[in-house]
């Protein structure tokens, strides 16, 4: 079984601030980390390696600094990591990104044979589109399961899994080869073992440029991106809630809360319906 994990390096969101004047993220001095959702894809890949003896490649597109994210990814005990880095890839939207990643995956295929499963995180903490995984599935012509929350069974040519929908969950059979994008519910990323960590610290990822993966510069990066960012906004700071009771006895506080709640139509409706269903005591 051959597996490729797509990861992204993002600014550590716990440290990100927004410049209120320019509306841009203040990236200076903010450490980069593996996108949190991608951690769950890496964990799944590590499990596939352990249980199904999979060969796992990790791939990302980005500037040379993204090597750090790839080294971290190797600490999950995975086989190799590939950085797609070229000026021609810069300024990419999700369409161009999927093209470059697709070319990268094809190149990996030349080395290890047909890729059975491509894993990705649900979405990136900085862009939040959730489009790259599905886009790569389309380019590869693979079946797609997005928002995977649990995996029941992996068979020779299909996977039985559960994915999250807007309301509720859906259990599906997915034909291999496939692309899965995973949610944090799927698993708990491991705390790497010391031997794997040491290997990752010493590991040097493979770096490929546009010629290595035979990418068409017109389809990659800025020139391959129809998306233009015209404007960005920050939602206005949320106004704090009203305090309806302060330092009062629980009885009075509860009564005040009830009075407030009754101002909502939906609450009054339930109150009215109680006559129909009767009080459960």
């Amino acid at each position: 079984m051959n597996v490729v994990v797509l990861i992204k390096q993002v600014p550590d969101t716990t440290n990100v601030r927004i410049d209120r004047k320019t509306n841009n993220l203040v990236r200076e001095g903010v450490p980069s980390v593996i996108n949190p959702d991608c951690m769950h894809a890496l964990e799944l890949a590590a499990q596939l390696k352990e249980k199904h003896n999979a060969t796992v490649y990790v791939i990302t597109m980005g500037p040379p600094q993204a090597i750090n994210a790839l080294k971290d990814a190797i600490s999950f005990g995975l086989d190799e990591a590939v950085l797609l880095s070229d000026r021609a890839f810069a300024g990419a939207d999700t369409l161009a990104t999927t093209y470059t990643l697709y070319k990268g995956i094809k190149k990996i295929e030349e080395k290890i044979g047909k890729i059975d499963i491509v894993l990705a995180g649900r979405q990136a903490a900085d862009g939040d589109t959730g489009q790259v995984g599905p886009g790569v599935a389309t380019r590869l012509g693979y079946s797609l399961a997005a928002y995977v929350t649990s995996i029941e069974k992996i068979e020779k040519d299909e996977i039985i899994l559960t994915r999250r929908l807007d309301r509720g969950y859906e259990k599906v059979r997915v034909k291999i080869p496939c692309v899965l994008t995973v949610t944090p519910e799927l698993n708990e990323p491991r705390y790497a073992s010391l031997p794997n960590l040491i290997r990752s610290l010493r590991y040097q990822p493979i770096v490929w440029n546009k010629d290595d993966i035979n990418a068409d510069p017109k389809k990659a990066g800025f020139f391959g991106s129809p998306t233009r960012v015209v404007n960005t906004n920050i939602p206005p700071a949320r106004k704090g809630g009203d305090i309806i009771s302060k330092n009062e006895s629980p009885e009075i506080a509860a009564q005040k809360l009830l009075d407030e709640l009754k101002k909502f139509e939906s609450i009054r409706l339930i109150e009215g319906l109680r006559v129909l269903v009767g009080d459960k005591k």
């Binding site: 450490p31 705390y191 790497a192 073992s193 010391l194 031997p195 960590l197 040491i198 610290l201 010493r202």
Partner: protein, 436 residues
């Protein structure tokens, strides 16, 4: 099985300096650091002396400046005695320090990462996000460390403990019987306040490469013995203070209240002005201030202690990181000698203490060994003198038609009334004994 020649516990200045020295002698070294990166958990006021780095890093000063590891070269140092709304200052400025930097103001997260990069270039493996939890013992000797990671054992021939002020592993190694006590450590709190570079240059009368330090005694500390400080960084200032835990506990005062006192003192408030609320970072840490008497056993079979873990801090002179870097180097040099002799034991590692005694580290700590206890026992040093001296200065410098002879007698009278001439004499004697 993972094997190294030496495992260094802790990626602060002491540990990094030890690791670098060992790696230069061709040893296989692993530094195990529990923080996310070297320096992520480290705090200090912010003055780093250059001399210990010159010993271990080639072109240390040029590299630090060019690679932006440091903020400003300190060309002016001041001591402030804060009175009630006033200040008595002593200071020294020497622009020659621009050419041969004596000290830099630093932000530790930046500096430590720079230092770690140099150490990695020398071939040291720095393992971060990993905690050493215990030692591997064989026949009563340390044979390695057990980390928090799965399959986390590392075997080695020797261990250098540079774990910092909390001596958890020093105790596990049997080199310290009891945990540090509240009178052996200060809590230091600090804010990094954003201030534009050109405003700092104007306010402190310096160019962009040069900086100023203030050490601040007096009013803010509510009579407790503690040191406040204000240092200029490139485009921010570090302001903070430290007081012994025991005193805070005894007086039931929170450290941030003292920092507020300091920031709100009219003199300090004037300096930082409208930037007072531009707090970018708030930091707090324990500083070992037990001095000479709190130093643990510094060596054992296959093990040495350095830096804060060895309590090697000269709190009177705000020196700690230079002790850390130097003690790390000396510990490493001791080990290298022991490796060359082919015997790593108490017998060969004992010379570490000799090396420390020959260096400024133990000489300085011994010199000041009784000063802290003297200060603690004599609260009036801090309660009385800063405000008294401020009042005397005001009296002396206020010209209101009083003849100078009368002014002198007024000053002598207030000294007599507030402390008594015998008391003054005794205090001078105590102080002299403390620093002799």
């Amino acid at each position: 099985m993972i094997k190294f020649d030496v495992v260094v516990i802790g990626g602060g200045p002491a540990g990094l300096s030890a690791a670098l020295t060992l790696a230069k002698s061709g040893m296989e070294v692993a530094v195990v650091e529990k923080g996310e990166y070297a320096g992520s958990k480290n705090v200090m006021g912010g003055v780093l002396y250059t001399h210990p780095l010159l010993e271990i890093v080639d072109n240390a000063v040029e590299r630090m400046v060019n690679e932006k590891a440091v903020e400003r070269s300190v060309i002016e140092q001041n001591m402030f005695l804060l009175g009630n709304g006033s200040v008595l200052k002593v200071g020294h400025r020497n622009p020659e320090w621009k050419n041969t930097p004596n000290a830099f103001t630093v932000l530790r997260a930046k500096f430590d990462q720079w230092f770690a990069k140099i150490v990695e270039e020398a071939g040291v493996l720095i393992i971060t996000k990993t905690k050493v939890e215990d030692f591997i013992w064989e026949n009563g000797k340390i044979k390695g460390v057990i980390t928090s990671r799965p399959e986390g054992e590392i075997y080695c021939k020797a261990v250098i403990i540079a774990e910092g002020v909390n001596p958890i592993l020093t105790m596990k190694a049997g080199l310290r019987k009891e945990d540090i006590k509240p009178n052996m450590a200060a809590v230091a709190v600090k804010e990094v306040i954003d201030m534009p570079e050109d405003i700092i240059n104007t306010a402190f009368n310096v160019d962009s490469k040069s900086g100023v330090t203030y050490e601040i005694l007096g009013e803010w500390s509510e009579g407790m013995f503690g040191m406040g400080f204000l240092y200029t960084n490139k485009d921010s200032i570090s302001i903070g203070c430290g007081v012994l835990i025991e005193e805070l506990k005894h007086r039931n005062i929170k450290p941030y209240q003292l920092l507020d006192n300091l920031k709100n003192h009219p003199i300090i408030s004037d300096i930082i002005g409208e930037y007072k609320n531009n707090v970018k970072e708030y930091l707090a840490h324990l500083i070992p201030e037990g001095g000479y008497y709190s130093i643990p056993q510094l060596y054992g079979d296959n093990v040495l202690v350095c830096g804060d873990a060895a309590m090697l801090v000269n709190s009177i002179h705000r020196e700690g990181s230079n002790h850390a870097i130097t003690s790390g180097r000396l510990a490493a040099e001791t080990l290298v000698d022991a490796f060359n002799k082919g015997e790593i034991s108490k017998k060969t590692l004992k010379s570490y203490v000799e090396r420390l005694k020959e260096s400024f580290i133990l000489k300085d700590l011994e010199k000041y060994k009784d000063l802290m206890p003297t200060m603690e026992k004599n609260q009036h040093f801090i309660e009385l003198y800063p405000s008294l001296f401020n009042r005397l200065a005001t009296r002396f410098l206020t010209v209101d038609g009083t003849p100078k002879t009368d002014v002198e007698w007024q000053i002598i009278d207030s000294l007599r009334n507030e402390r008594g001439l015998i008391g003054l004499g005794m205090d001078a004697l105590k102080l002299w004994k403390g620093v002799r």
